[in-house]
Symmetry: C2
Subunit: 356 residues, 2 copies
C-alpha cells in the first residue's frame, strides 16, 4: 500500500503552510477562492482523502477542539462557546461540546470521550462538587479527577479552564474577577440605603462562589456593617431553589431588606416568592443576581445583575488555546487572565427614594 | 504484538453481554456494585485498556453519539439534548454536541467533524436555509448537503432528524405536529374575539415554519376569515427582528389586533415594541409565541406559547437511534414519530373581556 497523501504533502507541493491547506479544505472564508481552488485541485491530483481520523493517527491533529461546560442552557456558557467558535473557526478548528449537568462523574466520562475522539485541546469549566442527592466518595472522585487532568497533560493535549477552575500546574485559565463583581453589587445595595443584606451563595469549594462570598463580606466590613452568617444561605442555581430560600429568609424574625444572589436563576425564584408574599421590590426588599442572563433584562421588573462579558471570555480562552497549540518550543508557560465584571443596575434594586 | 483485549473478550469470559461490560466500565448506575467490581477485576487481569479509539477501529463502535442543532442557547434544543442524554447515558453512550448557528456551511463541517470523531450515530435538527447576509450558491449547498447525508448513510452511521427535518429515504424522524400547534394558537386568538391576526413567519423552505403558516391559514379559513397575505411577514427568531416587524405592522393603515409568531424570541420583541408605543396587551393587541421558552412563563406579562415537550422529543429520538444501532438485520426501516403540541394560554392573549 502506498503512503497516503497528507495535508503536509499538499502544503509542500504548493509551498504554503499546512494550516492554509487545512483552512482551504475546511472552506474557511479567510482563504481566497484562487487558493482554495488550487488546493482542491492539487489534493484531487495527489489522491488526498480528507479523513481526519487517519490524519489524527499520523500527525496527531484532528482540528477538533472539545469544550466541556456544566450546562448548555445558560446564556453565560452558550455565549462563552459562541466566543470560542468565533475565534477558532477562522483557524480551521471545529468545536464539539459536552455538558456535565454539574456532575463530577459525567465530567470524567466527557473527558474520556473527547480524548478518544482525538481532540486537539480541551477547554472546560469544571462542574460543581458532588451532587448532594448522589453521595459519592468525594476523595475518590477528586483523586479520579486529578488523574484524568494529569492524563490530558501527559498526552500533551492543551487543557484550559474558564470561569470555574482548579489550580493545576501547567494549566492556563481565564476567569472574571468574581470578588469585584460581588463587592460592587453589595456596595450598590448599601448605597441604596439597604441595612440587612442576605447572600444566596453556592458550594464554596468552587472558587467563583467562594470569591463572590468574600467580595460580599468585604463590602459589608468596609462599610462597618455587622457580618451575620445567618444571612448567608447555600442554594443551587435554580428558580425553585431560590424560592425555597427566600421563603426561609422571609420567615426570619428580622427578614433582610436586600438579597445578593450568586445566580440569576435563584434571584428570579426569590423575586417570585417575595412578590407572592405581598412585599414590594425594591422598596421592601431589593434583589441583585449574577451573570446577566437575558431574562434579567427582559422582565418588566428588570433584575440588577453582574455582567461577565462571556463572549469576550470565550474569545480569550480560544486565543490562549491557539498560543499553546502553536507553541512548538518545549518551554510551556501558564497564562492566567482575569476579566473585570460590570454591574448592570436595573429596577429590582434601584430605590425610588434614592433616585428621586 | 498480542491481540488486544476487547469488551467482547471480557463479556465472553464472564458470560455476560458486551453492553453490560461497557456499562460497568462507564459507571452506569444501573449496574450493581458486584458486577462492576467483577468486570473491573477481570478487565485488569486481562490487561484491558479502555481506549475507545482502538475499540472504534476494531469494532466500529465509539459509544459517542453526535447531536447537531442550530443553536444550544435555546431552551427547546437544550431540552431535547437533555432528553437524548437521559436516554443514552444508561446505555453507555456519550453525547457530543455541535451547533451550526443556522448556517448550512457550518452544518457540513460539523457532520465531517463528527464522522471523523467516529461517532456511532448523528441526531440532528437541520439548519435554516442560507444566511441572507452570505448569499451562497443555494443549488451547490443543497447538493453538497445531500452528498454528505448520503455519505453518512453509506457508512452505515444511523442518521435521525428531529424537529427540523428533510425527507431522505431511509432516515427516521421525530417531529411535532406544527400544523396543529399553529391552528390551535390561531383558533384561540379567534375565540378571544380577535379579528385581524398577523403572522410572524420564517423561511418556509423549512417544513416546521411552512406547517405553522399552513395551520394559521387553515384556522382563518375554517372561521370564514379573509386571508390577507400582507399580514404574514418573515422574520428571524430574534428579539430585535420581532421589534422591527412589529413596528412595520403598527405603521399599517389598519394594524392587526393580534400576532401569532413562529418564535417566542420574535414574539418578545413584538411585545416590547407594542408596549413602548403605548398599546395595551392583550386589550389592543394579543401576542402568541411558539416553543414555550422559560422566559414566556417568567415574565410578569406572561406570554401564551405552544409547548413542544422537547425533553420527551429527545427521549424518543434516542430510542429510535438505539433501535437502529441495535438492529442487526439487513432490513432497515424508517420510523416517523409525530408528537402533539400543547397551547399554554397566558396573559399576553387572554382577553379580560372574555374571561370575565
Amino acid at each position: 500500500m502506498s503512503k497516503k497523501t497528507t495535508i503536509y504533502d499538499i502544503a509542500k507541493k504548493l509551498n504554503i503552510t499546512a494550516a492554509t491547506v487545512s483552512r482551504a479544505l475546511n472552506n474557511n472564508p479567510k482563504i481566497s477562492e484562487t487558493t482554495r481552488a488550487l488546493v482542491l485541485k492539487t489534493a484531487a491530483k495527489m489522491n488526498y482523502e480528507q479523513n481526519k481520523l487517519a490524519l489524527a493517527l499520523k500527525s496527531g491533529k484532528s482540528f477538533n477542539v472539545g469544550v466541556i461546560v456544566p450546562r448548555i442552557d445558560s446564556n453565560f456558557f452558550a455565549s462563552v462557546i459562541r466566543g470560542i467558535e468565533e475565534e477558532l473557526h477562522p483557524e480551521g478548528y471545529h468545536v464539539i461540546i459536552c455538558q456535565t449537568h454539574d456532575q463530577k462523574s459525567q465530567e470524567l466520562t466527557n473527558v474520556n470521550s473527547l480524548l478518544n475522539a482525538q481532540v486537539d485541546g480541551i477547554l472546560m469549566s469544571i462542574s460543581n462538587a458532588n451532587d448532594p442527592n448522589k453521595p459519592e466518595n468525594k476523595k475518590d472522585i477528586n483523586s479520579a479527577e486529578n488523574d484524568i487532568f494529569n492524563n490530558i497533560l501527559k498526552k500533551n493535549v492543551p487543557l484550559i479552564f474558564f470561569d470555574r477552575k482548579k489550580d493545576i500546574k501547567g494549566v492556563s485559565s481565564v476567569i472574571i474577577d468574581d470578588f469585584k463583581g460581588a463587592y460592587d453589587a453589595t456596595q450598590h445595595l448599601i448605597d441604596q440605603g439597604k441595612k440587612r443584606i442576605a447572600h444566596l451563595s453556592n458550594n464554596r469549594e468552587i472558587a467563583i462562589f467562594n470569591n463572590r462570598y468574600l467580595g460580599y463580606k468585604q463590602a459589608l466590613l468596609d462599610n462597618d456593617f455587622e457580618f451575620d452568617e445567618n444571612l448567608v444561605i447555600n442554594c443551587f442555581s435554580k428558580v425553585d431553589e431560590g424560592r425555597k430560600v427566600a421563603k426561609k429568609l422571609l420567615e426570619m424574625k428580622e427578614p433582610p431588606d436586600a438579597i445578593f444572589s450568586v445566580s440569576d436563576f435563584s434571584a428570579l425564584g426569590a423575586i417570585q416568592e417575595i412578590l407572592e408574599q405581598g412585599y414590594k421590590i425594591p422598596e421592601d426588599i431589593s434583589v441583585v443576581g449574577f451573570s446577566n442572563e437575558p431574562f434579567t433584562k427582559f422582565m418588566e421588573l428588570s433584575i440588577t445583575s453582574v455582567d461577565q462579558s462571556p463572549t469576550e471570555m470565550g474569545r480569550i480562552v480560544a486565543k490562549v488555546f491557539l498560543e499553546e497549540v502553536n507553541n512548538d518550543s518545549k518551554i510551556k508557560s501558564e497564562k492566567h487572565v482575569v476579566l473585570s465584571p460590570e454591574l448592570m443596575i436595573r429596577k429590582s434594586s434601584l430605590s425610588p427614594a434614592v433616585t428621586a
